[in-house]
Amino acid sequence: MKFRTMKRHLREGIKNIFRNGWMTVASVGAVTTTLLLVGAFLALMLNLNHMADGLEEEVQIDALIDRTATEDDIQELRDKIQEIDQTGSVSFSSKDDQLDQLIEDMGKEGNTWKMFEQDNPLSHAYVVKAKNPADTEALAKKIGSLENIQEVNYGKDVVNRLFTFNEYARNIGIVLIAGLVFTAIFLISNTIKLTIMARSEEIGIMKLVGATNGFIRWPFFIEGMLLGTLGAILPVTAVLTGYYYLDHSISDKITYDFVELLPFSPFAWQLSLIIVAIGAFIGVWGSVMSVRKFLKI
C-alpha cells in the first residue's frame, strides 16, 4: 500500500468519527461504561491477588533442632532439608538470634526475657520457605520426619484456610473478568454493528467503484481503534485519580503489613495501559468483525 493511501485511510477514519455523530457517541459511551467496570474490577482483583501473595510469602516453617544435635548433625540436616523438592530457601537461626527476636517482639515486657541470655532455653532452628507456598504443609511433614528435628511449626490451620481462600478468590476473579470482557466485546461489537449497518449502503457503493475489501476495511479499522481509545479516556482518568486517593488514604490508615496496595507507580500506569489496550482491541475487533459481513457484494 502506498504511503498516501495509508494517510488517506487515517484521514477517513478520523473524519468518520465526526461524520457519524451520535453513533460515535453511543459507541464511545458503551466502551467507556464497560472499561470503567473492567478497570475498577481489575484494580480490585490485582490488589487482592497482591495481598494474597504477600500473605503467602509470610508463610514459613520453623524447624526446631534437637538440643542434643552436634555441629555436624546441624550441617547435615541443612543438606537434607535442601534435598527435598519443595524446599525454596533455608536459613539458620541460632537460639541467640531467636531470643533477640523474641525480646524485640515483646517490646517492654521483653526485658524480662533478658535474664535468659546467660542460659538460653530455646533451640536452634532452620527457617524454611517452600518454593510454592501451597506446598508448605507437605514440606513441613517431610522436615518433621527428619532426624534431629525436635518440632515443626507453621500455623497449620491458618495456612490451610488462607490457601483455600486465595484459590477461590483468584478463580472467581478470573471468571468474573473474563465474563466482563466478553460482555464488553459483545456489547460494543453490537453498537458498532449498528453504526456499520447504517453504512452498508456506503460499503456497497465503495465496492461498485472498484474498492478492494482491504481498502474499505482500513478506515473502519482505524475508526474502531479510535473509538476504543476515546472510550478509554474517562476510565483511565477515573482509575488514575481514584487509585491515587485510595493509595494515599489507605496507606495512612491501615498499618497491617499484608494489607498493602500495589504502589501507585507503576501499577496505576500499567493498569491504564491495559485499559487503553482493551479499549482499542474491542473497538478494532468490533468494527472489523461487523464490516466483514457487508463486504460480500
Binding site: K2, R4, T5, R8, R19, E201, E202, G204, I205, M206, K207, L208, V209, G210, A211, T212, N213, F215, I297
Partner: protein
C-alpha cells in the same frame, strides 16, 4: 468487447431472469436495453459489472472471462466499468467533490491528478460551482450528473446505466443524454437500460429488447417498440 454466450440466470428464490442470452457489443457502441418491467433488463445490466453471476453460460469483457473470475479480481474489473443507477447511489456524507474523488482514491491516484481529473469531469457535467455541496443539497438531475461524473472520471471503457433518467423530469433527462452522447463520442461504450420511449425514439441507437429473459429484438437505430 462484450461477449455473452448462452447466459442463464436463476436466482436463489427460483425466479428465472435470463433464459439464454447471446450477444456481442463492440467498443464504442451505444446500446439501449428495453423491455417490460421484470423482463430481465436489470439482471442483464448487473451481470456486466459482476454484481451478480450467471448461473450458466459465459460473459467476457475485453477478453476477461467474468464467469470464472476470482473474487479478489472483481474490484479491478469494476474500475474499467462506470456504473450509473436510477437512484444515483451517492455517499450522502461526502461532498460532490469527495464522491467523485473517491473513485480515484480507490485506484491510488496522486492527489494532484485527483484534483485535476475531478475538476475536469465536473466541468464536463456542468457542476464545477457545486463541488462543495452535499448530494442532498442538489436537485435530482444534478445528483445524477454527479453520479455520471463519478462513473466516468476513471475513463472507463464501458459505462453501464440502469434507468439513469427514471427519476428525472424530461428536460433534465435530455441534459443527461447529451452528456452520454458526448462520452460516447469519445469512444466509450454505453449500455443503457431505459423505459423512456422519447429518448430511444429520438436519439437513435442500437436497441436490444428483452422479454421473459430472452432477446426478442436487436436492431441498429431501432425504435422503443412498446406502448407507454
Amino acid at each position: 468487447m462484450i461477449k455473452m454466450r448462452d447466459v442463464h440466470k436463476t436466482y436463489a428464490n427460483g425466479v428465472t431472469a435470463l433464459n439464454g442470452i447471446t450477444i456481442d457489443i463492440d467498443q464504442g457502441e451505444f446500446v439501449y436495453i428495453v423491455g417490460p418491467s421484470g423482463a430481465g433488463k436489470s439482471t442483464f445490466v448487473r451481470l456486466m459489472f459482476r454484481e451478480t453471476k450467471p448461473s450458466e453460460g459465459s460473459i467476457t469483457i475485453n477478453d476477461v472471462d467474468m464467469s470464472n473470475m476470482k473474487e479478489k479480481n472483481v474490484p479491478f474489473l469494476r474500475r474499467n466499468i462506470g456504473v450509473i443507477f436510477q437512484d444515483f447511489k451517492l455517499l450522502s456524507k461526502l461532498t460532490v467533490y469527495e464522491n467523485i474523488a473517491f473513485a480515484l482514491e480507490v485506484i491510488e491516484e496522486s492527489p494532484r491528478n485527483i484534483r485535476k481529473r475531478v475538476m475536469d469531469v465536473l466541468e464536463l457535467v456542468g457542476l464545477k460551482n457545486k463541488a462543495r455541496f452535499l448530494p442532498d443539497e442538489l436537485s435530482g438531475g444534478e445528483q445524477q450528473r454527479v453520479s455520471i461524473a463519478r462513473a466516468i472520471v476513471n475513463h472507463p471503457k464501458i459505462v453501464i446505466a440502469d434507468e439513469p433518467t427514471g427519476n428525472l423530469d424530461p428536460e433534465t433527462s435530455w441534459g443527461i443524454m447529451r452528456i452520454f452522447e458526448e462520452i460516447n463520442a469519445q469512444g466509450t461504450t454505453i449500455l443503457m437500460a431505459t423505459h423512456s420511449k422519447e429518448i430511444v425514439n429520438t436519439i437513435k441507437k442500437r436497441v436490444i429488447a428483452i422479454e421473459d429473459g430472452l432477446i426478442v429484438r436487436d436492431e441498429h437505430r431501432g425504435e422503443y417498440g412498446y406502448e407507454v
